[in-house]
Amino acid sequence: MAAHQLQGQDYILKIDPTGGVTYETVVCLKSFDFNSEVAEVDASSFCESVILPGLITETIEFEGIQLFDNGAGKQTGVDLYALMLAKTKIGWQIVPLTPTTGDATKSGKGYLFNISENYSLNEPCVFTSSIKVAGATTQTITV
């Protein structure tokens, strides 16, 4: 397939409460971010200025509408809160809804580190949350 572009909603965030076996879609998301950053190690001396790459820190941040009584097969903010309380190591995937040649899929494991729920007058209940990646992230390209 030729070079192509995708919209944000062409990708979905999935998590697996059991750590990387059966992934379920997180609903109802409005957006999510994947952040990856390499720490700077300053090895500069009188001889020369040197910056080396350090450890990689990765997080996934997302926000969505809170769903209640959603049944099995999907992960809501309610489910995620239970996982965070249990300090469960989860598997995660950022995957195209319908992968085509050249599309990238990221996956790994991590912990839910925060959930913020918002209840405002005349607005739907919403939540924001983030996953801190534990271990390496794997990126695969659809062939």
Partner: protein, 144 residues
């Protein structure tokens, strides 16, 4: 995506069935007063506007609906009856902060709010005095 406009109009018409204030019937219409209708006090639904507010896997919309309240009295109109109609509207469809209108299975209203409430200047035509008030509600709707 599904259009909620007609369903919202239906929900309003259903809610206002038999609507009366001070024992005076106040009918509700869409866009205009039908030809041949001769009523002094009525409500017109109009100015429908949508703004998409869905999620990544579910459509949603913030939809506005204007309720224009029209009253006419002879030899003067203090606007009292228009205000009484508006009060009755609030009691009917927005009695509590969590009030919503009921929908069929395709839509779910999760909240509504009054975004505009204004009175028009008194106008006259012969002995008829017109006092009108415009209410605009915004509804947050999930599309199933």
């Amino acid at each position: 995506m599904k259009s909620v406009n007609y369903k919202l109009r239906e929900a309003y018409v259903t809610a206002f069935a038999g609507f009366a204030v001070n024992a005076i019937t106040v009918p509700i219409y869409y866009l205009e007063l039908p030809q041949g209708e001769e009523v002094d006090n009525y409500i017109i639904l109009s100015e429908v506007g949508n703004s998409e507010s869905g999620t990544m896997d579910r459509h949603g919309t913030d939809i506005t609906m204007q309720l224009a309240v029209y009253t006419v009295q002879q030899y003067g109109n203090s606007g009292k009856f228009a205000d009484e109609i508006c009060n009755a509207i609030f009691q009917l469809i927005y009695p509590t902060p969590t009030s919503v209108l009921s929908f069929a299975s395709d839509f779910q209203m999760v909240g509504m709010k009054l975004t505009r409430d204004s009175s028009e200047n008194l106008s006259t035509e012969g002995n008829d005095y017109f006092a009108n008030r415009l209410l605009t509600f915004e509804h947050k709707i999930f599309i199933k």
